[in-house]
C-alpha cells in the first residue's frame, strides 16, 4: 500500500547542496550553434524563472541530451558550478523534478534576458561535451 502510494506521487528527492567543483550539463538547440561549433550567448536564457540544467551527480551528458524527444537537435555543454556562482547575481539550486523523473534537475536563477554581460560571461565559461550540427549544415 505504502509503495503504491509512493509510486502515485512519484519519487521524493531532497534538494542537495551542489559542490563548486561539480559540473552542470545543459542542452543547447542547434539554432544557437555557430558554423564554427561555438555556442551563441542567446543559448543562456531562462525558461520560466530559471535556466534549466542537470547536475552531473545524477545525469550523464547523453541523458541530458535525450530528455527531449529530439535529442539529435541538441548539443550538450557543461558549466563548472564555481564558474556559474562567480557570475553576478546567479544562484545555483538543485531542484529535482519528480514530474519528469529527473533527480539531476538544477535551476540557475538570476536575470539573463536583460543582462548581456551575464550571457557573455556564460559564453566564456562553457565546455562543449556533445556537439551538434549548426542549422547551416543540416539537410532540411
Amino acid at each position: 500500500m505504502a509503495s503504491e502510494l509512493a509510486d502515485a506521487v512519484g519519487p521524493r528527492w531532497e534538494s542537495e547542496e551542489i559542490p563548486d567543483a561539480d559540473l552542470l550539463y545543459m542542452r543547447v538547440h542547434f539554432r544557437f550553434v555557430n558554423d564554427d561549433g561555438s555556442i551563441q550567448p542567446g543559448a543562456f536564457r531562462d525558461q520560466g524563472e530559471a535556466m534549466s540544467t542537470d547536475w552531473e551527480k545524477y545525469s550523464t551528458p547523453e541523458q541530458t541530451c535525450n530528455r527531449l524527444s529530439k535529442g539529435q537537435d541538441n548539443a550538450v555543454i557543461s558549466l563548472r558550478t564555481s564558474g556559474v556562482r562567480a557570475i553576478p547575481d546567479q544562484l545555483v539550486v538543485h531542484t529535482p523534478d519528480p514530474e519528469t523523473n529527473n533527480q539531476a534537475h538544477t535551476d540557475v536563477f538570476g536575470d539573463k534576458k536583460k543582462n548581456t554581460q551575464v550571457r557573455i560571461l556564460y559564453s566564456r565559461l562553457y565546455e562543449l561535451i556533445i556537439p551538434t550540427l549548426p542549422e547551416s549544415q543540416r539537410v532540411i
Binding site: R27, H29, R31, F32, N34, Q40, P41, G42, R45, D46, Q47, L68, S69, K70, D73, K112, K113, K114, N115, T116, Q117, R119, I120, E135
Partner: protein, 177 residues
C-alpha cells in the same frame, strides 16, 4: 499594374534576396507588389551600402531566416520572432555602420545576428581584440541592452542601455579600436 523599377545599387553586386518579386496578373501578384512597396524604403536603404559593407549586408540578409521560425522553434517553448524586432536590429546595424564608414572610413566587423531570449535578437561581435553583445528586445518600447569588453586589461568595459534610433556611432567606434 504599375511597373517596379529595378533597385539601383552602386558599386556592390546585388543581393538576390532583395530582387523585386516577378509580377504576373491576378490578386496574388497585387498582394506581393503591395508588400514589396511597403518594405521598399528599407530595402533601398540597405541597397545603398558601399561595397566595403557588403559582408555586413549579406549577414543581415541571412539573418532574416529567424522570422521563419514558429513558436516553440527550439522544442522548449521559445516564441517566434517579430518582423518589427528584426527590422529594428537591421536598421540599427545599417545606420550605424554607414555612420562609421562615412565619418571614419572604417568598415565595421561583421557580427553574428541571432536568436536572443524571449523573442529578442542578439547582435554579437567577437574578435581577437574586443567582444560586444547588443540585445534588441522584442518590445519596441524597451531600450537595447549592451555589454562590451576587451582581451586587454587596458580596454575599458562598456555596459548600459541604448536607444537604437539614436546615433550610436561611438559604440561601433569603440568596437573597432
Amino acid at each position: 499594374m504599375p511597373r517596379i523599377e529595378p533597385l539601383k545599387r552602386e558599386p556592390a553586386a546585388r543581393v538576390p534576396s532583395f530582387t523585386p518579386p516577378a509580377l504576373s496578373s491576378g490578386q496574388e501578384s497585387k498582394v506581393l507588389y503591395d508588400a514589396f512597396n511597403a518594405l521598399r524604403p528599407r530595402w533601398l536603404e540597405m541597397n545603398t551600402l558601399p561595397k566595403s559593407l557588403e559582408r555586413l549586408e549579406t549577414a543581415i540578409v541571412k539573418s532574416i531566416r529567424i522570422l521563419e521560425w514558429k513558436d516553440d522553434w527550439d522544442g522548449e517553448g521559445s516564441p517566434a520572432y517579430a518582423e518589427e524586432t528584426w527590422q529594428r536590429a537591421a536598421l540599427f546595424l545599417v545606420q550605424n555602420a554607414l555612420r562609421l564608414w562615412r565619418t571614419c572610413g572604417i568598415a565595421v566587423d561583421v557580427p553574428r545576428i541571432g536568436p536572443g531570449p524571449d523573442g529578442s535578437i542578439d547582435i554579437h561581435w567577437k574578435s581577437e581584440r574586443r567582444e560586444l553583445l547588443i540585445n534588441i528586445p522584442a518590445d519596441s518600447r524597451e531600450l537595447a541592452d549592451y555589454y562590451g569588453d576587451g582581451r586587454s586589461v587596458q580596454v575599458q568595459m562598456m555596459k548600459g542601455m541604448l536607444d537604437t534610433q539614436a546615433n550610436n556611432l561611438w559604440l561601433l567606434n569603440w568596437l573597432m579600436q
